[in-house]
Every structure is written in C-alpha cells, then in structure tokens.
Symmetry: none
Subunit: 358 residues, 2 copies
Amino acid sequence: MRVAVIGTGLIGTSIALALREHGASVWLADSDPAAARLAADLGAGEPLPETLDVQADVAVIAVPPTAVAATLAALQARGPAGSTGLARCYTDVASVKQLPMAQARALGCDMTSYVPGHPLAGREKHGPAAARADLFLGRTWALCPAPETSETATETVTELVRACGAVPMRTEAAAHDRWVALISHAPHLVAAAMAARLEAAPHEALELAGQGLRDVTRIAAGDTVLWTQILSANAEPVAEVLAEVAADLAEAARMLTADEPKPVAALLDRGQAGVARIPGKHGGQAPEFTAVQVVIPDQPGELARLFNAAEAAGVNIEDVRIEHSPGLPVGVAELSVRPAEAAALVNALEAGGWPVRR
Amino acid sequence: MRVAVIGTGLIGTSIALALREHGASVWLADSDPAAARLAADLGAGEPLPETLDVQADVAVIAVPPTAVAATLAALQARGPAGSTGLARCYTDVASVKQLPMAQARALGCDMTSYVPGHPLAGREKHGPAAARADLFLGRTWALCPAPETSETATETVTELVRACGAVPMRTEAAAHDRWVALISHAPHLVAAAMAARLEAAPHEALELAGQGLRDVTRIAAGDTVLWTQILSANAEPVAEVLAEVAADLAEAARMLTADEPKPVAALLDRGQAGVARIPGKHGGQAPEFTAVQVVIPDQPGELARLFNAAEAAGVNIEDVRIEHSPGLPVGVAELSVRPAEAAALVNALEAGGWPVRR
C-alpha cells in the first residue's frame, strides 16, 4: 500500500509508523517542514515531493477539522498527469464528521473517493515526537462513508484502519457526532470549566493538588484553538450534554448548602455507575514492564552513572520517570525494564550502592 | 521517636513504614486486627498493646474524618498510670480539618496536644498492602494547629512530617478546607456529574471512549459513602466552587447553541491557564524547564552514552521521558533541563551525532 500522510502531528505520524510496520510506502507532508523532517527521522516515511506528482492508494488528511475539506480539494486537484488526483481514495481523522463532509460538498470535492474517518485514540502530547506505532491497537476507528462514497474506497480505507491495528466501526456521521459529543467533546469543556477555577486560586491551594485534580483537568491543557473549532463544529449535541451536567452540579451545590446529602449521594452513585460502563482498555496495551525504583542524588552525572551500571549489566531501560522531592537533595527514578531483566538491574544497582526498591 | 499509628490503612501504614526507615519505634493498631497484623508483617511496626499503657511521642490518628475526634478522646484518656494519655501529642490525616477540630472541642479533648494534619498523598489502592514508605516524598502535608495547640506539639508533628519526606505547610483550618474544596472535593463531584451522563448512554457511544474520558471520570469511581461524608463535612466551600463551574458550563452551552464561539474559546483559555498553574512534579511551574527531544536507537548503552555526553557538557538533566514505538528500532527521549543549559545540551548532543529537536 502506498500512503500519503498530510499532516505529521501525533495522529498522522502514528498512522505512518503503524503502516510502515506493515511494509507500506509512506510519503509525509506538513505545513511545518520541521515536523515532517522529524517524522521522517523517526522512520515514518519519506518526504512527499512538493510537486505532489505521486500516485498513492490512500491519502490520510490529518489536519484540523476546518482544514480537511480544503486539503481534500487541493489533493484531488493534484497528482501525476492523467490521474484524477494524488490518491485513489482519501480519508481524514477529524473528530467531527458532518462539518468536513458538508464543506467538502460545498467545495465540489469528489465524494465518491472520500471516506470520512475518526480514530478514537490520542495522547495529551502533541507533535510527531509523541507518535507511536501502537497508538491505535485495539482502538475503535469510526468510518462514516457518505451515500456517494464508493464501496471500493471504503474497503481500501477499512484495510488501512485494520493495518493500524484498530477496529473499524462503520456508522452514520450524525450519530458519530452525537456520540463523540458525549464521550469526548463535552468532557473536554467540563475539564476546562473545572480547571478555569484554578486560574485565580491562591498559590497555596495549588500546592495541595494531587493526582485526582491532574486527571480531571488534564485534557483541558489541549490546544484551545483546535478545540474551539471542534466544539463549534459539534455545537448542538455538545450543548445538550453540558446543560445537563450544569444542572446536576447546580443542584448538588444547592443540596450541599441546604445540608441535604441524599441527592449528592445519588449523583455520586450515578457517576459511579457511569464510570463502570466505560469499557476497559482494549487489547494493545503497552508491553508489561516491571518498575524498579532507585533513590538518586539530584546532581549532574548521577543518571549517567546509573545508566552506565544498567548498561554494564546488559539491561535495556525502557522508560524512566523521575520524581523530585522539592527542597530535598534526592529524587526517585522509576526505571521500567522487561520483567526478565529486573533482577539483573536490581543487583547491578545495589552493587553500585544505590538504594533500590522493586 | 516513638509513634503510635491508629488505623493501618494505606496512609497509616505508609507513615509507619516511612518512620521505620528513620529508625522510629512504631506501634500499630486498627479496628480490623488483620489489617494491623498485615502492617506489622510488612515491617511497619509492632502491635499496640490492648491496654494502651505505652507512652508514645506522637499518636497518628489515620481513621475516617468523622471518627477522628472520638479516637482522639479515647487515646487522650488512656496511657500509663500518671501520664496524660497515650502520647505527648496527636495528629490526624483527614482531608477536612474544621469538622474534626469542632468535634474534638465538643468532646472536651485537650486541644493543646492535638495538631490537625492532612498529607496530600494517596493512591487508587487501599489498605496496608498498598502502603509505600515513599508515598509522602516531596508531597505537601498540611498542618493546621488550633490557637490552643502548643508550639512543642506542632514542632514534634512537623518533625514527623519531615521524617516521612514530606514538606510541612502550616495553615489555618478554614483556609485548608477552602483549598481542598477547590483542588479535591469539587473536582470529585464534577467528575461524578460528567460520569452520570454515561449511565444511560448508547452502548456504541461508550465503545468510542478514550483515555480522556477515563481520566476526567476516574475519581468518580471512588467510595460514594466516604465521599458523601467528605463533601457534607466541607459543604459551603464545595458548593461555592460547584456553582461557579455549573454557571460556566450553562453559559458555554448557551453560547454554543447561539453560534458564539468566543466565550467558549475564552473558557478553554481560562481552563488551559488553570491547568498550567498546577505544579509539576518538581513542585514548581512546568515552564521552569526546557524540553530537548533526541532520537535514540532502542538498544542498551544508548541512554548511558547520551547521559555521559550531557555530563561532559556539565548539564544536569532534570527529567527524562522516553517514547517508544514498539517494533521500531528507535525512540524519542525528551530531556528536561534548565533553560540556560538547553543550548549547551543541544550542542553536545548534536556533536555526538544525535538528531535533536528543541
């Protein structure tokens, strides 16, 4: 399969990496040449010639929602002499589907070769450096072909989705947009509204923040321009969910003030029941690693010494997290290694004089 | 230091383990004898004699908020003949402070020896088996002495907090309760209100759920009885935050419906600014460090080589995140350094032949 990935952010580069693992040829392009170069350095593919005169099987348009239709129109207008465009078929990855479809129609795009898509996967980080070939493993990938979309195009894009390890889910664009309003777009604004309360909070309050607050508000760190676009593009279904959440919270505030704990307990129970309905993580977890914790002095050279000891023991450290204790001269490094290598690492580090905790 | 830990759940046992590492003698008790036994087996200390006729320097009351005052009263009434109680001073770990203090006063407890406390640390898991000696490393631990509390008692408990590796933060109980309403209690109800929308959601919508929804709603899975207790015990400050969040969400819903994206963008911006104020793991603001990204082959020795190059350049790497693309022979290491040292690191790494992106 020959694939052109237009937009080498997190999603585009991850798709490219996943397809390369399946032996696909991938061309890469991005409005930021440095992003496309980094994606190429990561092994995601080769730069797309500026002339666009290549012939791909699929072009993946991994750009923001409101840029999808214009990009589609541009790609359909280019390609080798005698062709009908850069690719035989096109898909996008925007998290709303009705808007780019309407805009593509308005721009006179060929809808028979366009298979609107949305991989339900992401990370809080952005850009090609955060990309992972396994980002889509076991994840749902919605495909919303228009009535005009050819079955051949849909089948080709379905094949691409499967090659990324994802589970294709064919659905109607309007239903898709209602569902993502509930499970993605409204939660984003809820996280933002909670996080907005922190803007003017006393410094001391924030010093008390723990993991719960970080989790509830994490997604509110996302690109606000992109998210304003997404929310506006899916306004009605998002507004409906938000109004219901707002009503429940306002009622909870009134009941707390009135010292009526029962309705608050009922809301907590409904919330617990709601969380329980979220399916567990699908297959495709990151490989299981064992964590080894080491207390290290917070000074230059200590990490080098530690990694040298690991190297001498022939152990490959798969991931590192360093927890600092502000004001203390030590930190804790959490090293992730393959379970079979954990004992060797612990021995090597203990021999090197580090306090180790497995 | 001789310490009695009353309540060997996650927090109590973790305190005991941390203190034992500092050579303290620890007695353990729990209303569930099996929990106290497990804590003792983990090396957290020795069983507290049922007669309670020992003399401790500090008693740590690690029981639920509404049980703190009664436990304090009982401990102050016991101890060796001629003593004024089990310990010279007392502290607790409940997440609200005004309620146990008011109840202690109502029960006629000696307030001069009681130093109300709240370690801002926890895990998703409960019970002594989940305890960790390093649970409090670098975490804030609020201390809210009453006007009557003796300076000696406060100093002794402060010493205990430091021995656990935590950072003591002395504050007033009313301020503490307002702050935790904002950073812990209100976020819990916000998560529950969002999760409650999922209770009756179509099955297909939930299949689309990703990590964002899981994070926003995760804490809503918590014990609803305990949380109803906590929220009721801190009703006014929690209600105030909830009312503000509800008003912002209701307004966002109206603006989306009216196709007025600007106020929605403003809420997202405020949310992003709020998230940015949550201290990072270094206890400071995130922008304190500059990230340098390096593409590295995924093999033993590469990280050691990289850290050696950083050391040779005199650069202290403050944090490392490694992003792997499983199946690909490279990863991206994101190195956090002080901004003033970023250029030296980039030069050193480029000289060493690594592809670097700042």
